[in-house]
């Protein structure tokens, strides 16, 4: 960080630059927020219809019993992965460059989990009984079935949501305190409460640093576990195309891949709008791009392994499932996925592309699309192809209820995100300062 930051980036500069992002929002901001809320409104209307008439309004068919909603669920859970990776794992590895981007990634994580968590509730047939999935003491003495991967899922997502929220809030404390000191009006009250009495004393800093370290250590396994568990929703089933041992690492890599891609997608406009070019530099983007390249290649490898195992395993149903994927009626979805996720990121081998913000932005959007299709391909195509019971295979056509609620989920996510970046520092003030050269007093300088 230090070596790439222009020398004018000082402690003071950082505080001012970041505090400026919290200033009075302009018309553009409200327009974006209104768009997000409108999208959310569309989703809510669709959901009300779904509740009133039933899941039949969505495009499901027999045997495609999971479709766009579960696709969105896995997509959003995947998005949520880069946050903890950047804040916890890279923290433990002492990667200095994370400081400029981790807050955005963490916020994204929390909101993505909030979004993802809605889908299992939306997609079940009797949404009003969702709480039956939760183990709570009841007079019937009934517990959920702990053998069901869906229950594991619930715990994995629940834990992840808790930890990532705590992580986000904890990281915010010193920054909120800093903003509190300059804020006025209702915001001052808000920050006064959320700063939890932070005064920046030595003792507080010592406890804080220790606490942050432990939390990071605790959160690290989650990065790997959550999406592994999500992948077991599929891998534990006997559906060809789902039932594969590679699913856990494959899903984790994919999740980080999509998460990092969305971080890039979000950071580019934030950097531009909030004029944070000095804090979030091309160097940061390049590092994110490298992470993308790495996980993208793991994902590409996983695709190869899937097809290879299908062929090499010699299981007729498995082979039929993958044949259907590549050449069935949804071939376009499969090839979109492969091109966006496995081929496009190979461009990142070139430094000129890695360091071109525009190219990165475009590639990251394609990766997001590709990753959404990856889940669609895995979920819908494996079911629609129905390799065992040939007579039962069927096609699938999503309806307005699918697209509407999916759009609503984007509205929901961006609403929270927009509210967050205007009300809380989107870049960590304190941690960016950590990697800056200390304010120069005399010639002494410790880097």
């Amino acid at each position: 960080m230090a070596e790439t930051s222009p020398s004018r980036v000082t402690y003071d500069f950082v505080t001012r630059a970041i505090a400026r992002t919290l200033g009075n929002p302009g018309k553009g901001y409200f327009a974006l927020l209104a768009a997000a809320v409108a999208l959310l409104g569309v989703g809510i209307v669709c959901l009300l219809f779904l509740l009133r008439y039933g899941l039949g309004l969505a495009g499901y068919s027999h045997p495609v019993y999971w479709a766009v909603y579960i696709t969105c669920f896995v997509f959003w859970v995947g998005i949520a992965h880069s946050g903890t990776l950047i804040s916890a794992i890279l923290f433990l590895f002492r990667s200095g460059w994370r400081t400029a981007v981790y807050r955005t990634a963490e916020a994204m994580t929390v909101f993505a989990v909030m979004t993802a968590g809605l889908f299992p509730l939306i997609h079940i047939g009797r949404q009003w009984y969702f709480y039956w999935l939760i183990p709570y003491p009841n007079e019937r003495g009934l517990w959920p079935n702990f053998k069901s991967p869906l229950i594991w899922d619930e715990f994995a997502i629940g834990t992840y949501f808790t930890v990532s929220t705590v992580f986000l809030i904890m990281g915010l404390i010193p920054d909120i305190a800093a903003v509190r000191d300059v804020a006025t009006g209702w915001r001052k009250k808000l920050y006064a409460i959320t700063a939890l009495g932070w005064r920046g004393t030595n003792e507080q800093w010592r406890h804080y640093a220790r606490g942050y370290l432990y939390l990071a250590a605790l959160a690290t396994p989650l990065v790997l576990s959550v999406h592994s568990v999500v992948s077991w929703d599929f891998a534990m089933a006997i559906v060809p195309g789902w039932h594969a041992t590679i699913f856990a690492p494959y899903f984790v890599a994919g999740a980080i891949y999509s998460g990092v891609a969305l971080v890039i997608t979000l950071l580019v406009p934030i950097r531009k709008l909030f004029r944070l070019e000095d804090l979030i530099t091309v160097h940061h983007f390049e590092n994110l791009a490298k992470l993308c390249l790495l996980t993208g290649m793991i994902v590409g490898y996983a695709y190869c392994v899937e097809y290879f195992t299908a062929w090499f395993g010699g299981h007729a149903a498995e082979q039929a499932a993958f044949w259907y994927r590549a050449f069935g009626p949804f071939w376009w979805a499969s090839w979109t996925m492969i091109i966006c996720n496995a081929f496009l990121p190979l461009l990142l081998w070139r430094k000129t592309i890695r360091t071109s913000i525009l190219a990165l932005f475009v590639i990251s959007i394609f990766v997001n699309i590709g990753m959404w299709f990856e889940r669609f391909v895995i979920i819908v195509e494996s079911l629609a192809g129905e390799p065992f019971e040939r007579f039962a295979n069927a096609t699938y056509n999503p309806t307005w209820a699918d697209w509407g609620i999916m759009a609503g989920s984007f509205g929901w996510f961006f609403m929270w995100f927009l509210l967050f970046v205007k009300n809380f520092p989107a870049v960590s003030i304190s941690e960016v300062k950590e990697v800056l050269p200390a304010p120069q007093r005399g010639k002494a300088r410790v880097s």
Binding site: L48, G56, H62, L142, P149, F388
Partner: protein
């Protein structure tokens, strides 16, 4: 969805959600049940009463047992005492219930008002009008058109018409005129004999769809299976069945050999076969037929015309004769051509005769009731008179000629002075009437019929009329004709004659109540000898070499299995029943051979305009290898312009392209030359079929006969290792733990393992089981739109896979299998359910607790058999868009089975209500459940007796024995699901074609 609904939903759900929480969206509130204050005698709530009666859905006259609960019929089952159907019942028969409770029934007598609107009348007024009009019309022409009535009602109509100087025309759209004419030609009698399929050893069907609509489909299918099924120990089982027809019908799908002879040349094949048998002296030919071979064509003379090899004709003839139990039948599409159809019937008679089978497998004497049906010519004569203004009053009962003869009859109807309909529904004919006098449903009325000579079937009212202001047409006629008695008394007078013959010295009252209880009087009619009409061979032989349909595209209209001539079209069970061949529901289609389709670049669902000289229809293409390339085939039954909500404006009326002139034998031509034009339109077929090929998944196993015969006890040709050795140890512990868990809920102290065996050598794919399941388990019908999205709820489906036809030189054939929940011992659906809605019952069922289900649908994803079905909507919501049982259709719901709510998964339960019922009865009687106490609805209906149910742990049970049959296998055994259903491999003559 209109604006109003949009706003309502937004307001209602949004408001509720905003006001409280999502918890406010509740299931429907429970209605209060009011108990009987004075309980009726002989009526124990919760205990069903069974009444014997007779099915009137077609002319076969099968015996029924009507299951009545708390005064309502809730299910129709076959009467095991009936010699017609042996306790079995087809889909159409079972769906009679939906005619009874049909929401579109006419509830009151009605007449056209001055502006053409319907006005309700009192019965006095209505009958008064009828009397007045009839009186007025005396001498100016009165005609009464009825369906086939072989009993008291028909006699009453006859008598009344005689009194009035009118005429009585019985009209059945498919009236087998060719068969009757062929019998008259060959044997001098227009009678339709009884065909003894059960004792046949070699069956050749020339188009006869004897499992579908031909004469007595349930009984014939039952007999066919007895002959054709494979029974390891029984010598001479496994008769061979050859189907000669231009399309592969349901009947043809069971054939060991399908010969798609050129349409119109089938009779040459029959004659050539007779020639070979005579020339080679293969059979004990009766003396009067010996030496006829010189009059008949030799195989090489006709082979090219027929489109087969001469040596194949010889082979068939030799096999036919050598079987010493040959049976050739003619009918269906092969007797539907405009000319020469009766020639085929006569030729087939000749074949049976020279083979010495007439009197053995073809029995004149116990003749079929259809011999009494009128001919198409009688109807067209009437239509001619109507057009000429010679009919002043036309009365119609049990027939809908305005649908089956659309243009001509409707036009002629306009020239009739006064039109009276006795229909229970506003069908096309009733809708064009001046007066509608709604009849009671056959399940609500007294009547009788004579399905065949010697069998007198009684119909009794099995419940109070659903619509109390409908009235038995018999009573109406008696009143209108000035007779004092009720129809029941009229009927009894007739039965006094039978009492004298069959009473065996009992009082009439005893005889009567005995007949009512057993559904009629059953006796065997003696077999009569018939002799070949001299000169017939010469006459038929002279025709060989001519004939054959010459048009480029022949369109064949075949009777729909479910809808028949269209009478089934307003019954949602029948509309939603996938056609056993095409698997299409709710609409018609045109069958096109893949080659023809490729030539014209047609795809499934492309709309074709089929134009004949008489009319045109637009039909969606269904490409199938089961039809000749030069033939197009469409089913009858759809395209109603009236009749009710399920039938109206649905697809096309195939009768519109047919000639309205009778053929030379007085019948109707159901084949017509057409020009075909693509319209550019397309529709999604409402089909339930995914892949038409099995792709080597071994869902249906097939054995060649020779191999099947060699199988010894304990052989396992299909054994697949269900548990690999390395996993067995781990699984043992798992199974034990499962068992321990299961015993926690064990209340009986014993663990049966309910299981099923399905013999694919018997299953024909007729789909009677499917309708039985709908009836027994309150399955929702979802309608055409939802079927196109594969949302049908059919717990039991019949899968039909085509075989052969590609490379490898195998001929085209089809395999069928019922697919239902396999009640796996190691079920993939159970562990994935997060709330234990899917769980293992102590007696080995995969239970599904509807109340507990939240609808994650994980179980359905994980089910490799795809037999779990989800309630996408609330199909029981009154007035809802997807309502499945509009009032009073909901009265047919089985009170023993929950109607499932929106958002829950459902599936086959092995009719758990019947299992518990039998267990409760056994408990009350302090005994164990015996093998055979429990019969699931599917097994009960199956005309082929292909399904056996029982306890696998009871080593003496039939199912336990069948589970160890060497032909037995489990579908997808490699998945280690350990299903409770054992399929017994199909056995075929000849080689096995790859799917």
């Amino acid at each position: 969805m209109d604006r109003r609904r949009f706003l309502t939903v937004l307001g209602a759900t949004g408001g509720a959600a905003a006001a409280a929480s999502a918890c406010d969206i509740h299931p429907e509130p429970t209605e209060h049940l009011v108990p009987y204050t004075v309980p009726p005698e002989n009526q124990v709530p919760g205990i069903a009463t069974y009444y014997a009666t007779t099915c009137r859905e077609c002319a076969a006259g099968c015996g029924l047992h009507a299951k009545v609960r708390e005064g309502r019929v809730v299910k129709l089952e076959g009467n095991p005492e009936s010699p017609i159907n042996q306790g079995r019942l087809c889909s159409r028969g079972q769906a009679g219930l939906q005619g009874l409770y049909n929401p579109d029934r006419v509830t009151d007598p009605m007449a056209r008002g001055p502006n053409g609107e319907w006005q309700k009348l009192s019965w006095e007024d209505a009958i008064g009008r009828l009397q007045a009009k009839v009186k007025e019309a005396r001498g100016k022409g009165i005609a009464f058109v009825t369906g086939l009535e072989s009993g008291a009602f028909g006699e009453l109509v006859d008598a009344w018409m005689k009194e009035l100087g009118g005429r009585h025309v019985t009209y059945e759209p498919f009236a087998f005129e060719a068969l009757r004419e062929g019998n008259r030609l060959a044997f001098g009698t227009p009678a339709i004999p009884w065909y003894d399929f059960a004792n046949a050893r070699y069956i050749v069907s020339f188009g006869a769809d004897f499992m579908e609509t031909w004469l007595s489909p349930v009984g014939y299918q039952n007999g066919f299976t007895r002959a054709h099924a494979f029974e390891g120990g029984r010598d001479g089982s496994m008769a061979k069945f050859v189907s000669v027809a231009p399309r592969l019908s349901l009947t043809g799908m069971s054939a060991d050999e399908w010969i798609a002879a050129k349409p119109g040349t089938e009779f040459m094949l029959a004659l050539a076969m007779a020639q070979v048998i005579l020339a080679e002296r293969l059979a004990p030919t009766p003396a009067d037929a010996r030496g006829l071979e010189r009059l008949l064509p030799a195989p090489q003379q006709v082979a090219t015309l027929v489109g087969m090899e001469a040596r194949d004709i010889r082979r068939l003839s030799r096999e036919f004769a050598a079987s010493k139990g040959g049976l050739a039948v003619a009918g269906g599409v092969a007797t539907h051509y405009g000319s020469g159809a009766h020639v085929l019937a006569a030729s087939v008679n000749l074949l049976n005769y020279v083979a010495g089978q007439v009197g053995k497998t073809v029995k004149f004497g116990p003749n079929h009731a259809l011999e009494a049906a009128g001919s198409f010519k009688q109807l067209t004569d009437l239509v001619g008179d109507m057009s000429a203004g010679k009919v002043a009053v036309l009365l119609v009962h049990g027939a809908n000629p305005a649908h089956s003869l659309p243009a001509a009859f409707s036009q002629a109807l306009g020239r009739v002075g006064y039109r009276v309909s006795f229909s229970s529904y506003l069908d096309e004919t009733a809708a064009a009437s001046d007066l509608v006098l709604p009849d009671l449903h056959p399940l609500e009325q007294w009547n009788d019929s004579r399905p065949r000579t010697g069998v007198y079937a009684l119909q009794q009212p099995v419940m109070q009329p659903v619509f109390p202001n409908a009235r038995h047409s018999g009573d109406v006629l008696l009143q209108a004709s000035g007779r004092a008695s009720s129809f029941r008394e009229y009927l009894q007078v007739r039965w006094r004659v039978l009492h004298q013959r069959y009473g065996r010295g009992r009082e009439f009252a005893d005889f009567w109540s005995d007949a009512v209880q057993h559904g009629g009087v059953y006796s065997d009619a003696p077999v009569q000898t018939v002799r070949l009409v001299p000169g017939i061979a010469q006459q038929l032989g002279g025709l060989a070499g001519t004939g054959g349909v010459s048009e480029k595209h022949v369109l064949i209209v075949f009777p729909s299995i479910a809808l028949h001539d269209g009478r089934g079209a307003n019954k949602p069970w029948l509309q939603e029943l996938p056609d056993p061949v095409s698997k299409i529901t709710w609409h018609g289609w045109v069958e096109v051979h893949p080659e023809t389709a490729a030539k014209s670049q047609l795809a499934n669902g492309d709309m074709l305009l089929l134009t004949s000289p008489y009319g045109a229809v637009r039909a969606p293409v269904w490409i199938t290898p089961g039809v000749r390339p030069d033939v197009l085939a469409v089913p009858s039954g759809q395209g109603h312009k009236a009749y009710g909500r399920y039938a109206k404006d649905r697809s096309f009326n195939a009768f519109e392209v047919l000639s309205d002139q009778p053929t030379d034998f007085g019948g109707r031509a159901f084949a017509v030359g057409v020009t075909v034009r693509t319209t550019g339109d397309h529709r999604r077929l409402a089909t339930v079929e995914g892949d038409a090929r099995e792709q080597g998944r071994d869902i249906i196993e097939v054995l060649p006969l020779a191999k099947a015969r060699e199988l010894k006890r304990g052989a396992h040709p299909f054994a697949e290792e269900e548990t690999p050795a390395y996993a067995r140890k781990a699984l043992e512990g798992w199974a034990e733990a499962q068992h321990e868990k299961a015993s926690l809920g064990n209340y009986a102290g014993e663990h049966p393992r309910w299981a099923m065996a399905i013999d694919l050598a018997k299953c024909t794919g007729c789909s009677a089981c499917v309708t039985a399941c709908y009836a027994e388990n309150n399955l929702a019908t979802v309608g055409e739109e939802l079927v196109t999205r594969r949302r049908q709820m059919s717990w039991l489906r019949i899968e039909r896979y085509y075989t052969g036809g590609g490379g490898g030189g195998h001929p085209v054939g089809a395999l069928v299998t019922p697919m239902l929940c396999q009640q796996c011992g190691n079920a993939p659906c159970e562990p994935v359910c997060p709330v234990y809605a899917a769980y293992h019952t102590p007696d080995g069922l995969n239970g599904q607790v509807y109340n507990r289900c939240v609808g994650t649908r994980y179980c359905a994803n994980n089910c490799p058999y795809k037999v779990r079905y989800f309630n996408w909507y609330n199909y029981a919501e009154q007035g809802g868009e997807w309502e499945s049982w509009p009032d009073p259709l909901n009265m047919l719901l089985n009170p023993d089975v929950t109607v499932r709510e929106k958002g829950v998964m459902e599936k086959c339960t092995f009719c758990v209500q019947r299992i518990r019922g039998a267990q409760n009865r056994a408990r009350l009687e302090d005994r164990n459940v015996q093998d055979g106490d429990i019969t699931p609805a599917c097994a009960q209906a199956c005309p082929s007796e292909a399904i056996v149910f029982g306890d696998l742990h009871d080593k003496t049970s039939r199912v336990a024995a069948l589970a160890h049959d060497p032909r037995g296998y489990h579908v997808l055994a490699g998945l280690n699901t350990q299903p409770a259903i054992t399929y017994l491999a199909k056995v075929v003559h000849g080689a096995v074609a790859e799917a």
